[in-house]
Symmetry: C2
Subunit: 200 residues, 2 copies
């Protein structure tokens, strides 16, 4: 019996083979469902390696919020923020915090082909103190109008598509970054979940 079509299996393989393991996003207390939903969709589209998040009240990304898109991303809830930053820096990631301060550089000056964590701030308060403490780069998207800031899901997209631009020029979407082992394991999980869903 064949419950996962070849076309769908090929799509899954293509996603895993182009996944940008070394491009990751952290939502630092982003809370609006509309923003969460748009951010998840953009992270899926640019095919980031992992989406981290934390929330004032502990929540899970669910189907209602993301219309299923989060299922295809690797996501992780951050419990211990200090540990999180220490670990990711140990792995060689640069921490790029998006910020509206004076003390920032233009977002296009960053080399996003390096292992990079992009940090998005809360809708009202911006990025937290601890995120700023661990920042290797603080970046701003230039604005020429009256508004003080962009919507956070918009800021995320502008930066991720700059990363996509740099990475596709370098051919980073052309060869797999994930290990063959992780690709196989994930394919198993995804096809299994597809079959479960089909049986319901």
């Amino acid at each position: 019996m064949y419950l996962v079509t070849n076309e769908r299996l090929n799509k899954m393989k293509k996603i895993l083979n182009t996944r940008q393991d070394t491009l990751r996003v952290f939502m630092d207390y982003v809370y609006s469902p509309h923003n969460l939903s748009a951010i998840v969709r953009t992270c899926d589209a640019v095919n980031v390696g992992k989406l981290y998040y934390r929330h004032q009240k502990k929540v899970k990304l669910n189907n209602e919020i993301t219309m299923g898109a989060h299922k295809w991303l690797f996501t992780e809830y951050v419990e211990d923020i200090e540990n999180f930053y220490k670990n990711i820096k140990e792995k060689g990631y640069q921490v790029v915090v998006t910020l509206l301060d004076k003390d920032t550089i233009d977002f296009r000056e960053v080399d996003y082909t390096k292992p990079t964590l992009i940090v998005l701030g809360n809708e009202v308060d911006g990025a937290s103190e601890v995120s700023i403490k661990y920042a290797d780069k603080k970046v701003i998207i230039p604005m020429y109008g009256m508004s003080q800031s962009l919507n956070v899901s918009v800021a995320n997209a502008v930066i991720l598509y700059e990363a996509q631009r740099q990475r596709s020029i370098k051919g980073m979407y052309d060869k797999p970054q994930l290990s063959q082992e992780i690709i196989e394991k994930t394919l198993k999980k995804w096809t299994y979940e597809d079959i479960i869903k089909a049986k319901k």
Copy 2:
């Protein structure tokens, strides 16, 4: 009596002096208040010349939707769509329709330093037939994941910031595109409205 500070007046002047008169956006039946709000903010930030829109039910952009940002943009409700496209093409604008079809080019292949109208489609149905009929270029933003599309306010931002990139390289934010007459007239209007507001 001085009700508009010098700082604020300078801000207004700066906005008008960097306004990209020849970069415009048309929202073709975009309806979600969240999307309208994010699109207005991004258009303000990139400082587009004009934001056109039409709506299934005739609406106006209001403060509730845009938190005031639309007041600083030139906006126009499109009544007669055929006329609208004929007029803008006569003025020498290229019509760039964002689309999810096969028959599209990568959005980065377009020269946005030319007079350009960017067309955004409805959240469910995409761009209308008439917009597609008048399209000079049909563009897609590449996606590598499971989702079928990006959020429309996200798509708008990714394209506008590509336009901003091309235009700032060419120095197009460094000299005024609006006539001195329009700049003066708009300054009068804006300062007047500021005083009215201050009096309330």
